[in-house]
Every structure is written in C-alpha cells, then in structure tokens.
C-alpha cells in the first residue's frame, strides 16, 4: 500500500467502516510510515475535538419538563 491509497481510506478507517482485512493493511502502513501516522493522528484529534465540543450542549431542562407534562400530564 502506498501513502495515497492509505490516505484515500483515512476517514473510513477512523470511522471504523473498513473490513478487518483493509484495516489491517492500513495499520501495517501506518506502523511503517511516520508522516501518514502523524496525519491519521491529526485527523483523529480533529474528529474527537468536534464530538466533544458539540455534545457539551443538551436539551434545556424546561423542554424536558414541558414534554413530560404534555406526554403524561405531569
């Protein structure tokens, strides 16, 4: 596998959407190729960052109370 082929599957790898076989090939390339390893780590950090930042917010408590009243009359 070359760097280009590896990079083409970057997000599928990080999203755990690859077959075990394809995933193994990527891991093997990453173990041998430092620049690709760094790049995959960087994109992984970015995805983790997005998830953490955007999940900090949830439904307001008033909405939950109103819903319970509407649904179950309480």
């Amino acid at each position: 596998m070359n760097c280009r082929e590896c990079e083409d599957q970057l997000y599928e790898f990080l999203d755990k959407e690859l077959t075990p076989e394809a995933e193994r090939e990527i891991r093997q390339h990453l173990a041998e190729c430092h620049p690709c390893g760094e790049h995959f780590d960087f994109e992984g950090v970015f995805l983790q960052f997005l998830r953490t930042r955007c999940r900090a917010q949830g439904a307001p408590p008033e909405l939950k109370h109103r819903l319970l009243r509407e649904l179950f009359g309480e």
Binding site: F42, F46, L50, R53
Partner: protein
C-alpha cells in the same frame, strides 16, 4: 392475606418503554433540531412535536430496534415539511473549493498534534458548523456529533453510502479549514497561509 401491587396497565407499560427507549434520546434530538433549524425556539417546537408524534405512533415502532434512527427520521420529516422554509443559515462555508488535507499540510511542522484546536471555544465550532450548506451540515452532525454509522445515515437521508462518504469528507475538510483560519486570525497558531 398480603396485598400485592396492582399489575401494570397497558398505559403504564407504554409509558415505561417510551421513557426507556425514546426519551433517553432527547439530547440528541435537540442538538440535531438546533443545527437544522438554526434557532432555539424552533428547535424546542420541533423536538416537542417529534416526541408527541412518536408517542402517538409508539405501537408502530418495533421495540428494541433503532429508536434513535426512528425518532430522527420523524424529526427530519417535520423539519422538511414545516420548518425548513423559515430556517436561517448564513451558509458561507464553501465546500467546493477545498483542497484535500490542506490544513494538515500547513500545520504539520508547527503543530502536528493539532493542539491549537483546544483553544477554539465551543460557540465558534457551532457557528462554523451552522455555516455549512444544509446537506453537509446534516451529514456531519449525524456522524460526528451523534455517532451514526454510514449505513444508518444513508438510510435516513435516502442516499447511497458513497454520497454519505463524500459529503462527510467535504464537510469535515471545509470545517477544519474554517476553524484553522479562525485559529490563525486569533493568533492561536502562526500558520502558513497567505
């Protein structure tokens, strides 16, 4: 004779299963509603409407399957039918002119671990997401915030898996570029861009 507690009524059972399987997804529904509609008042109404519809048709939902996907589909249909017309989004992030992996190319010497992302506040991230065109914003939120897989998103949006992949790629790269430009403008990172 010992008294036993009365057997649960069908109404009690319906309520219990709705609480366990549907209400636990309230935060997910709210976050998606907010990113789709663009304002808290519409997001509130959209979530309330979704939950009331879901409770009314709870008999049609096959218990123990994918409640999150089922609820999000109801929410999305309501949004398209009733709210989309008045949703307001600046949609200024251009997903068509993105050079793949340009940000990493720029930062790999200065900050290959992407520590500059940590300095960007939550509101700035949400603002940047809100500037993505709707189909890209929706795909990114379902995947990267709510954790749905490609197949689940494809089914919900009624598009091929390949479309989900390409939308995700462009949305992520566009968002990354936007946040990187912001980080450079704030002095969080020096950057290489002109």
């Amino acid at each position: 004779m010992a008294t036993s507690s009365p057997a649960p009524t069908p109404v009690d059972q319906k309520r219990a299963s709705f609480e366990q399987e549907a209400l636990v997804h309230l935060d997910t529904l709210y976050r998606v509603a907010l990113r789709l509609s663009g304002n808290p008042a519409d997001a509130d109404d959209l979530v309330q409407e979704t939950m009331l519809k879901a409770y009314r048709s709870w008999d049609q939902y096959q218990k123990g399957t994918n409640a999150k996907g089922w609820l999000l589909t109801i929410l999305r249909n309501s949004f398209i039918n009733e709210y989309r017309r008045r949703s307001r989004h600046p949609e200024t992030v251009d997903v068509d002119t993105i050079e793949p992996f340009a940000v990493f190319g720029d930062v790999q010497d200065e900050d290959p671990q992407g520590t500059f992302f940590d300095r960007i506040v939550d509101d700035e991230v949400l603002r940047a997401i809100d500037q993505l065109p709707e189909v890209f914003r929706e795909t990114l939120v379902l995947s990267d915030v709510e954790g749905l897989n490609y197949q689940e998103i494809a089914k919900m949006l009624d598009v091929p898996v390949g479309t989900v992949k390409s939308r995700l790629f462009r949305a992520r790269q566009a968002l990354q570029a936007k946040l990187y430009d912001y980080a450079v403008s704030m002095g969080y990172i020096k950057g290489n861009r002109p």
